[in-house]
C-alpha cells in the first residue's frame, strides 16, 4: 500500500485550464460534410451517386412543374400553349377545383357550410389533441358532431337537436344509475337514448326540412376531398372508443363478452374492406327494417368503423399485453375498481404504447376512404376517375390529377404522423 502514495502518482492541478476554441475544420458545415458524406472512399462515391440521382429526378420533374399551365380550359388548349415543350397541365386543378374538393352536386352557393364545418372541426379537435388546453373547450367538442351534421347536410335543425338530446338523456341516466350498478346504468342509458330518438323523431313534422334555414343536401350529393375528410374523421373518432371496448372485451373474464369480441374481431379482420363496402352499398339494407332508408353515408361509416375498430382493438391488445402484471395488481391492491383501474392506470399506459400502431391504422383508414369510389361514391378519387377524366376536356390528364390527390392525402397523413410523434415525446415519462 505505501508504494502507491509516493510522489510519482500524486497529482494536484495547478489552476484551471482556460477554454480554447476547437481546431479549424472541427466545427460547422465542413466537419459535418466530412463526417456524414465523405468519411471514406465508399461513402464519397455513394454521396456522389446519390447527388447524381437527385439531379436526374429533379431535372425531369422541375421543368414539368415550372412550365405548368394553369389557366386553360381543356387539355387541347394546354397542348397548344405548350407547343410540344415539357410541361404540366395544372389547369385541370384550377378549373375543376370545386369539384375536386366538394364533388359535383353540392350546391355552389352553399360551399361556405362545409368550409365553416372544417374550421370548427379544428376548434373542436384541438382540446382532444392538445390536452394542455382548457378542459372546458371539450363542451364544444361534444356539440360539434351535431353542429357539423347540421351544417353539412342542412335541413331541419330539429334532427341534430333530437340526436343530441338522446345522447344527453343516455349520459344522464348513466350518471345517475351507473354508480350503483354498471349494467343498469349502461342498458338504461341505451334505452333512454332510443326512447328520446323515437319520440323526438316522431315529433319532427313531415317536411320540416323543406323550408329550413339551411337548404337540405342529400348524402349522395356529397363528394370530393370533403367526403374523404368526413369519412376519415368520423370513422377514426368512432373506431377508437369501439376498438378500446373490443380490446378490453377480448381480455374479459366473462366468456360471453370475450367470445363476442373475439368473433367480431377475427371475422371483420379476415374480410377485405372492399367486400364490406359492397355489403354496405348493396346488402346492408336487408338487415334494417324494410321501410327504413338508412343513408348510404351512414352505412359506409358503419362498415369502415367496424373494420378499423377491429384493427385498433388488436393494436391496443398489444399495448395491454405489454404492461407488467404488477400494474394491475398495484391498482387492485389500492382498492380501485375495474373501471377506475382501466381508466386511470391501465389504458393511459396501454394507449401510450399503442400510439404508433393506432396512428398506423388511422392513416391507413384515411387513405382507404378512397375505396368508396368503387361503390360509386364520388370522393376525391371517384371524382377524378369519374366525372373529370371522363369529360371531353380533360380526358388523359392523369399525372396532374392523381399527383394532386396524392399531395392532399400526404399533407394530412404527414400531419397525423408528426402529431403522433409529438404526442409520444410529450407523454414520455419513463426516462428509460
Amino acid at each position: 500500500m505505501t508504494d502507491q502514495t509516493t510522489n510519482s502518482i500524486a497529482f494536484v492541478a495547478d489552476g484551471t485550464i482556460p477554454p480554447s476554441p476547437p481546431p479549424a475544420g472541427e466545427t460547422g458545415p465542413i466537419k459535418w460534410l466530412r463526417e456524414n458524406l465523405f468519411s471514406n472512399a465508399v461513402n464519397s462515391v455513394l454521396t456522389i451517386l446519390a447527388l447524381l440521382a437527385i439531379y436526374m429526378i429533379l431535372a425531369r420533374i422541375l421543368p414539368w412543374v415550372l412550365n405548368g399551365v394553369w389557366t386553360t380550359s381543356s387539355l387541347a388548349e394546354c397542348r397548344e400553349v405548350l407547343q410540344g415543350k415539357v410541361g404540366a397541365c395544372f389547369s385541370v386543378l384550377t378549373e375543376r377545383w370545386n369539384q375536386l374538393l366538394y364533388g359535383f352536386k353540392y350546391p355552389v352557393d352553399q360551399y361556405w357550410r362545409p368550409n365553416l364545418a372544417l374550421v370548427l372541426l379544428l376548434v373542436a379537435i384541438a382540446p382532444v389533441l392538445f390536452f394542455d388546453l382548457p378542459r372546458k373547450l371539450l363542451a364544444f367538442t361534444a356539440v360539434y358532431p351535431f353542429l357539423a351534421f347540421w351544417l353539412i347536410w342542412g335541413g331541419t335543425i330539429l334532427a341534430p337537436i333530437v340526436a343530441l338530446l338522446g345522447f344527453a338523456a343516455g349520459a344522464f341516466v348513466f350518471q345517475t344509475y351507473g354508480k350503483s350498478s354498471f349494467a343498469i346504468g349502461f342498458f338504461g342509458a341505451i334505452a333512454a337514448a332510443f326512447a328520446v330518438w323515437i319520440i323526438g323523431g316522431a315529433l319532427i313534422p313531415e317536411g320540416a326540412s323543406d323550408n329550413a334555414m339551411l337548404q337540405a343536401v342529400p348524402s349522395r350529393d356529397l363528394g370530393g376531398f370533403m367526403l374523404n375528410l368526413m369519412l376519415g374523421v368520423t370513422c377514426v373518432s368512432l373506431s377508437l372508443p369501439l376498438g378500446i371496448a373490443l380490446a378490453l372485451g377480448r381480455q374479459s373474464d366473462m366468456p360471453l363478452i370475450k367470445w363476442i369480441c373475439v368473433i367480431f374481431i377475427e371475422f371483420v379482420r379476415g374480410v377485405p374492406l372492399i367486400t364490406l363496402l359492397f355489403v354496405a352499398s348493396v346488402m346492408l339494407a336487408y338487415f334494417f327494417p324494410p321501410e327504413s332508408t338508412v343513408d348510404l353515408f351512414l352505412r359506409v361509416v358503419i362498415m369502415i368503423t367496424m373494420f378499423s375498430a377491429a384493427y385498433i382493438a388488436e393494436v391496443i391488445r398489444g399495448g395491454l399485453a405489454a404492461l407488467p402484471k404488477g400494474q394491475y395488481e398495484a391498482a387492485d391492491s389500492l382498492g380501485l375498481d375495474y373501471p377506475q383501474a382501466m381508466r386511470l392506470i391501465i389504458l393511459p399506459q396501454a394507449l401510450k404504447i399503442s400510439i404508433p400502431g393506432i396512428v398506423n391504422v388511422a392513416v391507413g383508414l384515411f387513405k382507404d376512404t378512397t375505396l368508396v369510389s368503387v361503390i360509386s361514391m364520388f370522393d376525391l378519387v371517384g371524382m377524378i376517375r369519374g366525372p373529370i377524366l371522363a369529360s371531353t376536356e380533360w380526358n388523359g390528364v392523369y399525372w396532374e390529377l392523381l399527383g394532386f390527390a396524392a399531395l392532399l392525402f400526404f399533407v394530412v397523413c404527414y400531419g397525423i404522423s408528426q402529431y403522433s410523434q409529438w404526442l409520444e415525446r410529450r407523454l414520455a415519462t419513463d426516462h428509460r
Binding site: P324, G326, Q327, E329, A330, A331, D332, S333, L334, G335, L336, D337, Q340, L344, I345, P348, Q349, K352, L427, T429, D430, H431, R432
Partner: protein
C-alpha cells in the same frame, strides 16, 4: 444483517399487540391447477403485531399474503380481514383492499403519474378525499419516508430505494390498518435496502400491523414479534424471534437458518 441491528435503538414503546384480531385464517387451502400451493393454513394476527414470514422460494409465503387482499383466490377455508370475510363479493374485496396496504417486490409505481399523483390517486378515487386534502396527506407521508422533494418527479427518475419508499407512502395514504410487504427489499441494492428497512422500522414503531415476507433476518430479529417459517405450502414453525433464531425446533427450520445465516 448485523449492520442494521447496531444502527439505532428501536423504540418499542408503541409496539403493542392488542387483543383485537386483525386477520384470521382458518383451514385455508389453495391450488394452482392441481398443484397444492397452500396447505391447511391457520393463522391469527392481532392488531399491532409485526410478523415476518420466511422460507425457501416456492414455499408459498408470497401467495399467502397475496391471498389476504384477494390478489390470489383461495379455494378452501376462511379468511377474515379486519372483520370482513373474503368472499367472491366484489364489494367486500374492494373494502378489504382499501384497508390493507400492500408493498411489492418491484414497487409497481404508476410510471405515467408523478410521485404525488401516485400517492393521491387512490385516496381521491376510492376514498373520495378532496384533492387538496389528499395532496396534504401525501406530502405528509412523503416527508415521513424522507423524499418530499421528489413529489413532482416521475417514478422513472428515482432510485430503487426511493421508489420503494414512495410505494410505502402510496399505501399509507389510504390510511390502512394492516400493511403487507411482499419481499420489499429483494430487488434493491444493499445500500438501498437499509433506507427501506428504516422506513419499515419507523412504521412498526408507530404500531402498524405488519406482515412481511422477507429474507432480512436482521429485521425479523429486531422488529418482528413473531416469525413464521413456511415450507412446501405449510407453516412449519412459528415462534418469537429470539426463540426462532436461537432455538429452532424443526429440522427444516434448522437447515434453512444454517443456510441463510451460515456465512
Amino acid at each position: 444483517m448485523s449492520e442494521l441491528m447496531s444502527d439505532r435503538q428501536i423504540d418499542r414503546s408503541k409496539m403493542q399487540v392488542s387483543d383485537e384480531v386483525a386477520i384470521e385464517i382458518n383451514g385455508m387451502n389453495k391450488w394452482y391447477g392441481s398443484f397444492h400451493v397452500l396447505r391447511d393454513i391457520n393463522l391469527t394476527v392481532n392488531q399491532g403485531e409485526r410478523i415476518v414470514i420466511a422460507g425457501p422460494s416456492g414455499s408459498g409465503k408470497s401467495t399467502l399474503i397475496r391471498c389476504l387482499n384477494a390478489l390470489e383466490e383461495h379455494q378452501q377455508g376462511k379468511i377474515v380481514v379486519d372483520g370482513t370475510e373474503l368472499s367472491n363479493d366484489l364489494k367486500n374485496i374492494d373494502k378489504i383492499r382499501s384497508e390493507v396496504g400492500m408493498v411489492f417486490q418491484h414497487f409497481n409505481l404508476f410510471p405515467h403519474l408523478t410521485i404525488l399523483e401516485n400517492c393521491t390517486l387512490a385516496p381521491i378515487w376510492v376514498r373520495k378525499t378532496p384533492k387538496k386534502e389528499a395532496e396534504e396527506r401525501a406530502m405528509h407521508f412523503l416527508e415521513k419516508v424522507k423524499i418530499p422533494e421528489q413529489a413532482n418527479k416521475y417514478p422513472g427518475m428515482l432510485s430503487g430505494g426511493q421508489q420503494q419508499r414512495v410505494a410505502i407512502a402510496r399505501s399509507l395514504c389510504m390510511m390502512p390498518r394492516i400493511m403487507l410487504f411482499d419481499e420489499p427489499t429483494s430487488a434493491l441494492d444493499p445500500e438501498m435496502i437499509k433506507e427501506v428497512l428504516d422506513t419499515m422500522i419507523e412504521l412498526a414503531e408507530e404500531g402498524m400491523t405488519m406482515l412481511c415476507v422477507t429474507h432480512e433476518m436482521g429485521f425479523a430479529r429486531q422488529v418482528a414479534n413473531r416469525v413464521i417459517f413456511m415450507d412446501a405450502g405449510q407453516i412449519v414453525e412459528q415462534n418469537e424471534p429470539e426463540e426462532f433464531f436461537n432455538n429452532p425446533k424443526s429440522d427444516r427450520t434448522k437447515l434453512f437458518l444454517s443456510q441463510i445465516l451460515g456465512h
